[in-house]
Amino acid sequence: MTHGYDVAHFLAGTMLVASFTLLYQDRIFAVLNTFAAQAMALALAVAWQGYVQHHPDLFITAAMAFGLKGIVIPLALNRMVVRLGIHRDVDQAVNVAMAMFLGLGLTSLALLLVLKVTPGAASFTREGLALALAIILLGFLMMITRRNAVTQIVGFMSIENGLILAATGARGMPLVVEVSVAFSVLIALFVFAVFVFRIRERFDSVDIESLDRVRGERR
């Protein structure tokens, strides 16, 4: 059994590395590619869990992760970036070094927190949990350190990767597949929304700052 966990950890670790890479990539195309890589890693991890836990339905999730997040959405975003002509933008709200430091802090916080959890409290070991938590926090961090909607979508999706990782890691958790489907729908909505705003030409760029142009009570 043990090497089963090793593989899981290896894949989860890869995802974490991907998250860090996402954090310091400032070219959008690179961000998209890295994300695709992370998604593939997730797909593998989920598939592996399905194999270990003998839950064939997890393969659906794996497939979706692979197909949708590994290929379709990155491509879609790619085209969007090209059409919006923002492929040269550097959209860091805080500089990379700062972001990396924050990322390290978050990861250590995640580890610290999970260390409190009594060993063997769950079949899904503390390391896995720590990694998932770290990935989620990093995704969140990415969302708030980027200005541009595309990278925000990516940030959100990496949060969601972390969630799926955690969910599939938790042995025999019901509804995982349904939830992953639900999340994919969410992401689709997200992307669609950005497209909609673009197409309506109500907001001249997809920079979220400009979404706030008509804000609250500025009448």
Binding site: L112, L137, F140, I144, Q152, D212, G216
Partner: protein, 670 residues
């Protein structure tokens, strides 16, 4: 649900009040007048019930299965409630009688429906026997009176008054919430009997004292919480102002008596300190503002503040004496406080109703625009004079009775074991004496400028006497003031049983003086005040003098223009105005306790333009305790408002920081 008879009668009265309120919601506007006869009927019933209880001193309980779960809505009618109920309902009767005279055109859906509701609320506050019910009706009282204050909502200052009033009322209620919360304890025994049983730690009881003082003091107008009162009381229609000033403040007094003397059975002696200090300060401060203000109804409102100060000081002395075991003096001080509540409700209602009459007759409230009304409305003038003399605590009228008792109580001060109290009581005496002097000045000024002299404006010159019922209402109150003054001894005797329960003993000296009617604080050797005899003396001697003089003199009287030191027929503008009248006093007290800015624009010789002199007043309490915090609050609000205009990313940052903060907290915690 078990009830004896007096409560039944009160229930009927309350039903009439409530019915009138509901009915007036649906009645057409011109029929709204009927609420006043209804209120009179209810008030008379209630007075009868209260008097029967006062005489009998049994207490009656009732409980309704509504209100707070597991506590229910409890009512209790005991001596204290009955006494204040008597005050309240008598005031209501007078104001309603005045209300009958209100013209059809002045009836409005904004006043008449709330008036009976207000009356009912005041009655129920007195009856409530559990914390929830008490605060419930207390807040209803504030709410209904707020509606009456903002009745003339087109005027900005009425809106402002209503706003400040309701905010202060809410703060007061919050404070009382705390007081009752502290007294009931975490277990939440909200029934008054449970509260009586519940013993408090010193800390909690101190907090309760502060909260209770704030809650009731803000309602009664204790300085420095008073600044809302001169805004709100005058803003309401006059017969409502009479109720608010004459009666509602007494409900607040009732509340503090109920809390201190009943619920917290035996308070420590130092509880009396805030009462005495604040009371004395309020008594003098209130008058200093009253003697300066130029708006008739505001003058009355400020003088209400002063009288509340006197009452609180009396209560403070009562606490101190009771706590130090000098029950006889405690009884005297308590009698002073109670009787002053009664008397003040009478002459303050009189004065406000009279001011209402003046307002109705001339359409103005500013002293500097009135004058000479004694010619145009002699009845009102006469009654108002009696009211003014009683409130200036002049014998043989009722204001002096309570004043006299209070001085007797002060004189018992050397008996205090605590040095602080020994020091404070002469200070209090001095303050009260000062207040008495200023009161006289204040009301000479008010009566003199409004009713005497020559009219200072067209409105005043064309004034007309108000309808009969209104003068009747004012007149009856005047009669009460006189009777209350003559038979002070009797009223002191009548509240004897109440004094026994509150202070521990009644006024033992009564009835064994030279006459049965003399008022005796301790024993006949020590102090007597016999109003009837004095009155008799004065009347006899004045009549004899008059007879003698008319015998000797040639009874001839010529009318001629005023001599005025040889300035013939000067225009009315040369008269002293209210502001010029108070100028010497302003000179004495300006700066120290009185915010007044005098500005004089005197043209140089040869310049023909008229010189100008103007005075502006401001209430220190208003500046520092009302305006300043409000500005600070708005400034903070403006700061916070930036949070409405962040970008989505920043909102995400907030969310992220919250999450991380909480995570770190847990990481440290567990």
């Amino acid at each position: 649900m078990m009830v004896e008879r007096p409560l039944d009668i009160l229930a009927v009265a309350l039903a009439i009040y409530g019915g009138a309120a509901l009915l007036s919601l649906i009645l057409p506007r011109r029929l709204l007048g009927i609420v006043y006869p209804a209120c009179i009927l209810a008030a008379i019933l209630a007075c009868a019930a209260d008097l029967s209880v006062l005489a009998g001193q049994a207490d009656f309980k009732a409980q309704l299965p509504i209100g707070l779960p597991s506590v229910g809505l409890r009512f209790r009618l005991d001596g204290l409630a009955a006494f204040f109920g008597f005050i309240v309902n008598l005031g209501i009767a007078a104001s309603s009688l005045y209300g009958i005279g209100i013209g059809k055109a002045d009836l409005s859906k904004r006043i008449e429906p709330f008036y009976p509701a207000f009356c009912a609320a005041m009655n129920t506050v007195l009856l409530a026997d559990d914390a929830f019910g008490f605060l419930f009706f207390w807040e209803l009282m504030s709410l209904s009176s707020w509606a009456l204050v903002v009745a003339r909502h087109e005027e900005a200052e009425c809106r402002k008054a209503g706003y400040v009033y309701l905010i202060m009322a809410a703060m007061g209620t919050a404070a009382l919430l705390f007081a009752f919360g502290g007294m009931a304890g975490a277990a939440g025994g909200y029934g008054f009997d449970a509260i009586r049983a519940h013993k408090l730690t010193p800390l909690i009881s101190a907090l309760v004292l502060v909260a209770a003082l704030f809650g009731t003091g803000s309602k009664a107008g204790i300085m420095p919480l008073h600044a809302w009162l001169p805004l709100a009381h005058p803003a309401a229609p006059s017969h409502v102002s009479a109720l608010m000033s004459g009666v509602m403040t007494k409900v607040a007094v009732y509340a503090i008596i109920r809390i201190v003397f009943d619920l917290l059975a035996d308070p420590p002696w130092w509880w009396s300190l805030p009462f005495i200090i604040l009371g004395a300060a309020t008594a003098v401060g209130g008058l200093l503002y009253a003697v300066q203000d130029r708006d008739l109804k505001r003058v009355l409102a400020y003088s209400t503040i002063e009288n509340i100060g006197i009452i609180f000081a009396g209560l403070g002395l009562a606490i101190a004496f009771k706590a130090t075991g000098i029950v006889a003096a405690a009884a005297v001080a308590m009698a002073a406080a109670l009787l002053h509540s009664l008397n003040h409700s009478w002459f303050k209602s009189l004065l406000f109703l009279g001011a209402g009459a003046v307002l109705h007759a001339t359409g103005r409230r500013d002293l500097d625009g009135l004058g000479g009304l004694i010619q145009r409305m002699p009845k009102t003038a006469f009654f108002w004079l009696i009211g003014a003399l009683s409130i200036s605590a002049l014998p043989p009228l009722n204001g002096f009775v309570s004043e006299w008792l209070l001085f007797q109580a002060v004189l018992a001060g050397p008996g205090f074991p605590e040095p602080i109290l020994r020091f404070l009581s002469p200070v209090l005496g001095a303050m009260l004496a000062l207040a008495a002097g200023l009161a006289a000045a204040c009301f000479v000024r008010a009566f003199g400028t409004v009713f005497l002299g020559r009219p200072r404006s067209k409105d005043a010159a064309e004034a007309h006497e108000v309808p009969f019922v209104q003068t009747l209402a004012i007149g009856l109150l005047a009669v009460l003031c006189i009777l209350g003054g003559l038979f002070g001894g009797f009223s002191a005797y009548a509240i004897g049983p109440l004094l026994k329960t509150l202070a521990g003993t009644e006024l033992t000296g009564l009835l064994n003086g030279p006459t049965k009617l003399s008022l005796i604080a301790f024993d006949p050797e020590r102090s007597i005040y016999d109003a009837p005899t004095i009155a008799l003396f004065v009347t006899l001697s004045s009549i004899t003098t008059m007879l003698f003089v008319h015998l000797v003199s040639n009874r001839r009287t010529r009318r001629a223009p005023a001599w005025d030191c040889g300035f013939p027929d000067a225009s009315p503008a040369t008269q002293y105005t209210a502001s010029s009248f108070s100028q010497p006093l302003r000179r004495v007290y300006k700066g120290v306790v009185l915010g007044a800015v005098e500005s004089l624009d005197m043209p140089p010789p040869g310049d023909l333009r008229p010189g100008h002199f103007s005075v502006r007043f401001y209430d220190y309490a208003w500046r520092n305790l009302y305006a300043a915090p409000a500005e600070a609050l708005l400034a903070v609000a403006t700061r916070f408002n930036a949070f409405q205009f962040l970008t989505i990313r920043r909102y995400l940052v907030l969310m992220f920081c919250t999450l991380i903060a909480l995570l770190i907290v847990t990481a440290v915690w567990m």
